[in-house]
Subunit: 414 residues, 2 copies
């Protein structure tokens, strides 16, 4: 099945917002064999919205829109679509009740403009939005199929997953699908990884392979195009296995699984607890681990020792050690890991100290110098890494590299 995407919002045309919804929708629909054949972005202007949706329906017969469903006065797409389907807007008591309920839970009072959010074109199917105030709408009739979703990314994503994809799956049963599988690697540069993978493209054909470098490492995405589901899945499984084998220790997971999740799972399996002492990452390591629901049985907590005095007070680092070697040094990283492990009685602990920049570097310790230590039941290993680019990148990579070293330690690889 083919569909066109119409994204609505003046701000999308101004260039101050990068539209990530489009890519996300394309991926989610691709998985169920629905292909986006054209994409149009129009401003919050009734004429432009009507024109774009009408032309798309004439070409393709199916349209997904995002945006224009909020309570503020620049949101007008619902009116335009009601007009196009010749279906007057009607007040929906069920939506209104759930809106009121939501407001009660938030301890807020609805305002007049919220009432318009409970209006739906007659005959439209309401896609309930438990993540925000504007429900999605599914309109089917003479003009074709129009699916309307809010533009707020989290609401769009949730409605797509819970309401749209299941309905599309029902319609598309039996056709060929577009499916992908992703093997995640870290702590290896893209070019080195490509060398290790060698002639993998030939081996996995007709599947295609994409390298997707990011802050967490390089994701390897293999895609099957328009195959019957069983064939696609079998080929993807074989390709993923081949990728993991060639990437070796650097392949840590598949799909959306994060290295933090892998670390927590491996520690949990061995009944080990983790603590952290962070300086340059300022809490980011703990934040990454505690992003994972249920992390509390493994991660005990940690200290953010940004000031030197905090390193001594909270992690028991001797002031003389800092005076002698500097805050960014192997002895201090080690002392931080050991100190926090002892304070919290943790089996494992990390110590991270570095220069995140943009200032504070020297010839000997340039910006991006990070010492990271991993304590493991009485033994501590430390290593210096040199990271690059922005402060945010240096911090994110320091966390990811520490997670990688901790993981290798847990599974016995380091």
């Amino acid at each position: 099945m083919n569909i066109e995407l119409v994204t609505i919002g003046t701000e999308l045309l101004l260039g101050f917002t990068v539209d990530t919804n489009g890519a996300e929708i394309a991926r989610a629909l691709g998985v169920v064999g629905v292909r986006i054949v054209r994409r149009t972005s129009v401003p919050d202007d009734g004429g432009a919205i009507r024109d774009a949706v009408t032309a798309a329906l004439a070409r393709t017969g199916a349209v997904l829109t995002t945006g224009g469903l909020g309570p503020t006065r620049d949101d007008i797409s619902k009116k335009v679509l009601a007009d196009l389907y010749d279906a007057p807007l009607e007040f929906d008591e069920t939506i209104w009740a759930s809106l009121l309920d939501r407001f009660r839970r938030l301890n807020r009072a609805p305002v007049a403009s919220n009432r318009s959010q409970a209006e739906v074109p007659r005959g439209a199917t309401v896609l309930p939005n438990r993540w925000g105030t504007a429900p999605g709408l599914w309109l089917e009739g003479a003009p074709g199929l129009v699916i309307m979703l809010p533009g707020v990314p989290v609401e769009m994503r949730m409605l797509l997953e819970h309401e749209v994809v299941p309905r599309l799956l029902e319609r598309a049963a039996g056709a060929g699908v577009i499916r992908s599988r992703t093997v995640r690697t870290t702590a290896v540069p893209e070019s080195t990884l490509a060398e290790r993978l060698g002639d993998i493209d030939d081996r996995i054909a007709p599947l295609s392979l994409a390298y997707l470098p990011g802050l967490d490492g390089v994701d390897l995405r293999v895609t099957a195009w328009n195959l019957v589901p069983e064939d696609a899945d079998a080929r993807l499984a074989a390709a993923a296995a081949a990728l993991r084998e060639r990437a070796g220790a650097h392949a840590y997971a598949e799909g959306d699984t994060t290295l933090a999740e892998v670390v927590l799972a491996e520690a949990r399996r061995r009944q080990l607890t983790i603590a952290a002492a962070e300086s340059c990452t300022g809490g980011l390591f703990g934040a990454r681990l505690t992003d994972v629901p249920g992390s509390s049985d493994v991660f005990l907590g940690g200290v953010v020792t940004y000031a030197d005095a905090a390193k001594s007070e909270l992690a028991g680092v001797a002031p003389a050690l800092i005076a002698e070697h500097g805050a960014v040094s192997e002895p201090v990283a080690r002392a931080m890991a050991v100190g926090v492990a002892q304070r919290l009685g943790a089996d494992l602990a990390v110590g991270i100290t570095g220069i995140a920049g943009p200032s504070g570097g020297s010839a000997e310790k340039p910006v991006g110098t990070v010492w990271l230590a991993v304590y493991d039941r009485g033994e501590t290993v430390a290593r210096r890494v040199q990271l690059f680019n922005t402060r945010a990148e240096i911090r994110a990579r320091a966390v990811q590299t520490t997670l990688f070293r901790l993981w290798q330690r847990i599974i016995g690889g380091a």
Copy 2:
């Protein structure tokens, strides 16, 4: 001047690539008063390209395309445009010579398909590409104006800056510009904010206002369209002042400035230091503050007290207090803030304890219940907030709300 953007490339519709070109082009053109009024993405398909460009020219008379200029067989947009302008493709010796020169420098041999990159529609102006192999093209004639740029981001950017913008400036001499200004608000829902702003749209006309809700709050972007630069700036300044006045305490900054930056600046001005004790946010509060370069003179550090024992060991919270009231409670939030302030000798400190979910909630304390305390030189205030949606959202909003309370406390608003 109005223009439409047509981006060409099957990969853009698959969703594995987020198209950042569009936003970049909109910003670059906006500065010289050229407004993108519609954006269309089509696959590498001659019919779709022709159809999209023809419709755009009929509507707007001016089109900028990206993509479809490379040497591979799926790149066909040049042929389509030559056909549309009734201008046969002709081999251009100058382009070919510079291509050969480039290959020599890269120590590579051109392949047969590279010859097609030296072909240009008769009468087109060549926009030389020193950053890649495909030159841009500028076609003007009966159908209107078409500017063709390569899709590779760095080549697109360089051609835009060095070839396109100067030519557009020449055409538009004396005409208006598009400029924006953003007022950032937090801790107020979009609909409540809209009510407070009331008839602001009328007051700021002809400027337009967009509500941009996100995890940090609602950004208010006001835009001046096609005014002379001085007039645009004066009106934007007045509009921003009006927005800030009506949004009241909820308006914390303009542009890209984060609330963490505001908090650090206000604390620094008063020579106050900050510490943090975090439970459900797991280090995210510290991470947000230390995202800001130079935060070390204000932020001393903190403790991540994920396990109950860590709350006692690191923040000095009496175990009896946790046993009596539970870890997510006002007394524990207060004790965390006071405890970390005393350990680190900080003037200000926050204590954050809550249920980030998805599990762990109860009828009395549902998922999203967060107690946050702000300690300020001997005095502590605490409040309970109820947050919603995903774990990531609850954590991010808990941090933002805490920053807001801390900021209000620092500037004397709470």
